[in-house]
């Protein structure tokens, strides 16, 4: 009970604090003395889980730390407190689009932070472009990012595309196969959803090119809760590597099923959810060696400090994939505001061309995209560590084969 109630209490407290801050700030200071930042995130509906793990806690943590430090610094050195305007998009694009219109035309906020999810970010992109706001789309994995960045020149795409992650994984597996650790057979399952399909479409040619044989390659519908049949097929396929392009319920379900049926592939890879702080608990403490999408440089002091602050503020650790990047995007925004102020065109230009110091290190976007990302991570010694790209600073060496459950 303690874990949950404490989290709930903290959540309530943080709201109280932010809203009181916003309220007092709004009352004490005349119009224009605060920076109004708006966001429409999913508090309810299917996207609420993703937003609740990756997006909302980081927004709240960032607003809290900026305001505690006296506010956002502007080019002239003055500071302005952040005032938050928040709406629930109910996980529905109709409501999301309207909320963005409201933030832009009714509340006239200075900045708009993006919602969670690829579809949601795409839905608001034309509006953000129309109103001129820069859009730092973090939680959107799409292979069409270059196209979108070109179409909406104030949009920034910071989580790569499906084929990047697929290719990173294939690199790791190919190295292990070349070293003779695993065979050339792979069993892969993917969730029937934009994300899963993007990844599998990137993975099929990459595996083929690297000389792997996909001995089991199936897609399962979103909402599947039982993986016993799927996993027993994968187990019987003779593959040394099990790869799942999955969402958290699937990632967790497959882990549990693999454990209970004693399925011990040499490589066990899952996607979203694998980098969540609750994953080791889900895996009953046997997460060691499990690979998943994303990763952080767990040895970096900036990341360690960020994890500690996040844990203290929200009561739980952040996930080791998109959370740090979300926070980094906010730091970029903060630094860009300090350099060029709140003018949208200038901000967009600065975000596009500037260099920023963030929790994930020094960030410089290429063609409005963050390309310097971690593709594959692995649980090693209780922390989720990035293992690919292997030549990137802070990468750990992958451990293959994975120890038995």
């Amino acid at each position: 009970m303690t874990g949950i109630s404490r989290r709930a209490a903290l959540r309530a407290l943080s709201f109280g604090v932010t809203s009181t801050l916003a309220l007092t700030a709004g009352m004490a200071l005349a119009e224009g003395d605060t920076v109004k930042i708006g966001y429409a995130v999913a508090r309810t509906g299917p996207s609420a889980t993703g937003a609740g793990i990756t997006t909302i806690p980081n927004y709240e943590l960032w607003v809290d730390s900026v305001n505690k430090a006296g506010g956002l610094t502007l080019p002239d050195g003055s500071k302005k407190m952040i005032e938050v305007v928040e709406y629930d998009n109910r996980s529905a694009n109709q409501d999301l689009v309207r909320a963005i219109e409201r933030l832009a035309s009714q509340d006239k906020v200075d900045l708009i932070l993006p919602p969670w999810g690829t579809g949601a970010n795409l839905a608001i992109a034309p509006l953000m472009a129309k109103f001129g706001y820069p859009q730092l789309a973090v939680t959107a994995v799409t292979d069409k990012a270059p196209e979108f960045a070109a179409r909406w020149d104030r949009s920034f795409w910071m989580l790569g595309g499906g084929h990047d992650y697929a290719k990173g994984l294939v690199d790791v597996l190919a190295a292990a196969r070349d070293a003779g650790t695993i065979n050339g057979k792979v069993a892969v399952v993917s969730v029937a959803d934009g994300f899963g399909i993007d990844l599998i479409n990137g993975a099929r040619p990459a595996f083929e090119e690297a000389g792997f044989e996909l001995v089991y390659d199936k897609t399962y519908p979103l909402g599947t809760s039982d993986f016993a049949a799927l996993m027993s097929e994968a187990q019987g396929s003779g593959a040394d590597s099990f790869v799942a392009f999955s969402y958290p319920p699937g990632s967790f379900g497959m882990t549990k099923t693999a454990q209970s049926m004693g399925y011990n592939p040499k490589v066990f890879y899952i996607s979203v959810g694998g980098a969540f702080p609750i994953y080791p608990g889900v895996a009953d403490g046997k997460a060691e060696g499990v690979m998943a999408i994303g990763g952080v440089n767990a040895d970096s002091p900036a990341i360690q400090d960020y994890f500690a602050r996040h844990t203290e503020f929200t009561g739980k650790a952040p996930d080791s994939w998109a959370s740090a990047i979300t926070y980094a995007s906010l730091e970029m925004l903060e630094q860009a505001v300090e350099r060029v102020g709140l003018d949208h065109a200038a901000l967009a230009a600065e975000l596009s061309g500037g260099t920023f110091e963030t929790v994930i290190g020094e960030v410089k976007l290429e063609d409005n995209q963050l390309r310097d990302l971690w593709w594959v991570g692995q649980w090693q010694g209780g922390a989720f560590r990035a293992v690919n790209p292997g030549d990137k600073d802070g990468a750990s060496a992958p451990v293959i084969p994975k120890p038995e459950w």
Partner: protein
């Protein structure tokens, strides 16, 4: 005369309204117009017959998907026509096989239909076309979407008004009262229900098609959101599903209430929403219009006597 004139004046005012409001105001208008259309179209079939359909989103989503698939291949008006035809064809097939189901069986069937449609489209996209998300890049402004939706909503109300006066409307009412009686009085049950169901489905599909350019990105999980079906039912019933203006009267305040709640109480909004529903069921069981009538009747019993 006034019963025709007033709505026309209202329609004219609504048409020019976008010139005087902000983008958000326009967004609200689109949302309200969409739900008025959905609820009225739903009531066109379900209001008279008492067949509670939860398949609204099956048609609405199909409309959005049709636009997503065809928007680069065909000119926009042709896409809309295709959407309406596909929705109608789907309703015909479904209706032919299912309209003999009654009561809760129909409710659940229609719910299952929405899910089945979503699963089949997903499976088809994944296994046949190999993509799942689709993009809609159409040069249609928000105002144009609003005007289209307004026109569709007005057409739906006009159609309902016409049906209510026609033989079809009478037949539907008799069916709603008692199917056995209806059959005995020579009404072709299957045909009557089918016509209303197909008309209603075509409007729902068109509504989905018209709003879809606003999302840019279409994916089954996004367009087949079951909440749309539920909200439509609640709105129509709140206003009074068997009256011409009932669904519209339910849709507008509920839509605004949701908007207010989700922006002012993002955290506790579902709780308020739940209480609101329960409140509606207990306090205005026959719809707002009926409630209003009982209230006025109680105040002035003589006038009611005189009127009837």
């Amino acid at each position: 005369m006034i019963r025709i004139l007033l709505p026309l004046i209202g329609l004219a005012l609504l048409t020019v309204l976008p010139n005087y409001i902000s983008d958000y105001g326009l967004g609200l208008l689109i949302g309200a117009a969409t739900y008025v259309t959905l609820a009225s179209a739903w009531a066109l079939f379900s209001g008279q017959t008492h067949y509670i359909s939860l398949a609204t989103v099956a048609f609405y989503g199909t409309g959005a998907y049709t636009v997503a698939v065809l928007n680069e291949a065909l000119p926009y008006p042709a896409v809309l026509a295709c959407a309406a035809l596909i929705g109608g064809a789907m309703a015909l097939v479904v209706g032919l096989s299912t309209l003999r189901l009654q009561g809760v069986y129909f409710v659940i069937f229609s719910f299952g239909l929405a899910e089945l449609t979503r699963q089949l489209i997903t499976w088809y996209e994944v296994n046949v076309t190999g993509t799942l998300g689709r993009y809609i890049f159409l040069d249609i402004t928000t105002r144009q979407i609003y005007w289209q939706m307004l026109a569709l909503g007005a057409a739906t109300l006009a159609l309902t008004a016409w049906i209510n006066r026609s033989r079809l409307g009478l037949a539907l009412r008799v069916i709603g009262d008692d199917e056995t009686v209806a059959a005995h009085s020579g009404i072709n049950l299957a045909r009557t229900k089918l016509i209303a169901f197909v008309l209603s489905a075509m409007i729902l599909t068109l509504a989905g098609a018209i709003t879809s350019p606003r999302y840019v990105y279409v994916e089954p999980a996004i367009v087949f959101n079951p909440t749309v079906s539920f909200l439509t039912v609640i709105m129509a019933l709140l206003g009074g599903a068997n009256r011409l203006w009932g669904p519209a009267l339910g849709a507008v305040p509920l839509f605004l209430a949701f908007e207010y709640l989700s922006s002012n109480f993002p955290d506790t909004y579902p709780i308020f929403l739940g209480l609101l529903f329960i409140g509606v069921v207990f306090l205005v069981p026959n719809g707002l219009l009926a409630k209003l009538e009982t209230l006025t009747a109680r105040k002035a019993p003589q006038t009611k006597e005189a009127r009837t």
